[in-house]
Amino acid sequence: MPETGLLSKIEAAFPGKILEHYSQYGYDVIVLNRDDAVAIFATLRDHPDFAFNQLSDLTATDFLGQEPRFELMYQLNSLSLNHRLQVKIRVPEDAAWAHTVSSIWKSGDWLEREVWDMFGIKFTDHPDLRRILMYEEFKGHPLRKDYPVSKRQPLVEERDPITNPWPKR
């Protein structure tokens, strides 16, 4: 059920902030600037016309060879109004970071850790930006297109509770 007029409402709410917008496969897509994103996300969550109370998914795509190299994809969902919105933010390779949304949606916490783990995109002000699927000693970020699929990793030193304990948590 595509919510008609969602895009025009968003355009009216944030004049000049929406870099691109289009609809596809029954949902709307907008492209935002990295620095405007957090304020817009907060409004999208709290405004009764949008009520995007869930961050369903956050992931990145590595367009190696293109500029900007990375594209972040935020999939927002409103459980009360039953509409979806996809937000994209493009991030260059030499400044691979974005602002955290973990204070807006709690799911942002783990999702951003995964994007950091897999793509090496940092999230500023994230409370606890550790790797999540890989181990701390892992070298590189496996879902980058320049990470070879057959690459091997160095052996990790054995943990010992006395001589080489786990980091404190």
Binding site: Y25, N53, L55, D57, D62, S107, W110, M134, V149, R169
Partner: protein
Amino acid sequence: MAATATIPDVVEMELDPTSEVMSLQMGPSHPATHGTIKFWLKLDGEKILNCDVEIGYLHRGFEKMCEQRTWNHVVPYTDRLNYISPLINNVGFALAAEKMLDLEVPERCQYIRMIMSEISRMTDHFTCLGMGAAEAGALSVAFYALEARETLFDIVTAVTGARLTVSYTRVGGVTQDLPEGFADRIRGAFVDIRQVMADCDALLSKNRIFIERMSGVGVIPAEDVVSYGVTGPLLRACGVGYDVRKAYPYLFYDRVEFTVPTGTQGDNYDRFSVRFEEIRQSMRIIEQALDQIRPGPVRVDDPRITLPQKKDVYGNIEGLMNHFKLVIEGVRIPKGDIYQAVEGANGELGFYLVSDGSGRPYRVRVRPPCFFGMAALGQMLKGCLISDIITTFGMINMIGGECDR
């Protein structure tokens, strides 16, 4: 190993000044955590002050591997996401790829996909409920539930040829039609399954031990559950009736009648009850679909998408070339990206696909529903006892293959 009580979360817990906070690592290979997972606990006696959940032990590079293969080669990989309900993963991936192709699959194929998805939802729920009850001490329920599950797995085997690694869908259809006598077999199985459910209900619904282990444990408020991105039975147990099948209907879910059960307390007992009722609703959906399904083709007839008949492959050069091109180069999907969600057994199972127009996916991202439940687990467990980890973790129904990919 004693730690100081300076962690902000711990201070809130009104610590007894004489007590000592203990750090404990539980897992990654703990007999009660089916799936490899580690809990970093801060304990005051048996009470959990803080729980840091560590996942990733079953990471096999699913998303990276998908980028190396053709679109149809991804289907067997999706079997290994949630391996208790592999058909839902197959269907979700196929739907996303077909939407990018702007392809309408035949009606019979859509009904088959719907029936098989619901069977998978039932096998998943039976596994979760049976194991959840067994971990709370009700071992008979586990045997009843597994018996019902095996009845369904036998049907899945008859349709697809495999119990778990089914690889049943392809871009543009399903591999083969339903076998002879499928509808009668399902109806016969449902008679047994309804009996099993009545037995389980009788064993549990007035069982004081079970209720006290489950009720009021692992409670989390609805707004936090929503914020954590949790969907499926965990969300509905908190009273939020969100179901992808109702909110964004796909296949023919808008042609069948079913209700979305919800809970009130958001505790483990509600999570159990919601899943229990969902099994009944799945049976309703399957029975209606069996009444509505008509004979017909089960995949699209398009040489760019589906493989030719074997007699053409062996009999003429066009068929042979068609087969070769599809197998070696794969189906070509137009440039673009899509987010497509289906209702998995544990919640919203999303596929985000990016295509660069070649025969291989540029990026395949899976939104695993139990990942979000695991993110919320730390909050659910705060203030509970160690033994409550077992039941709460059981009701999240974390499937390692899906959570860690």
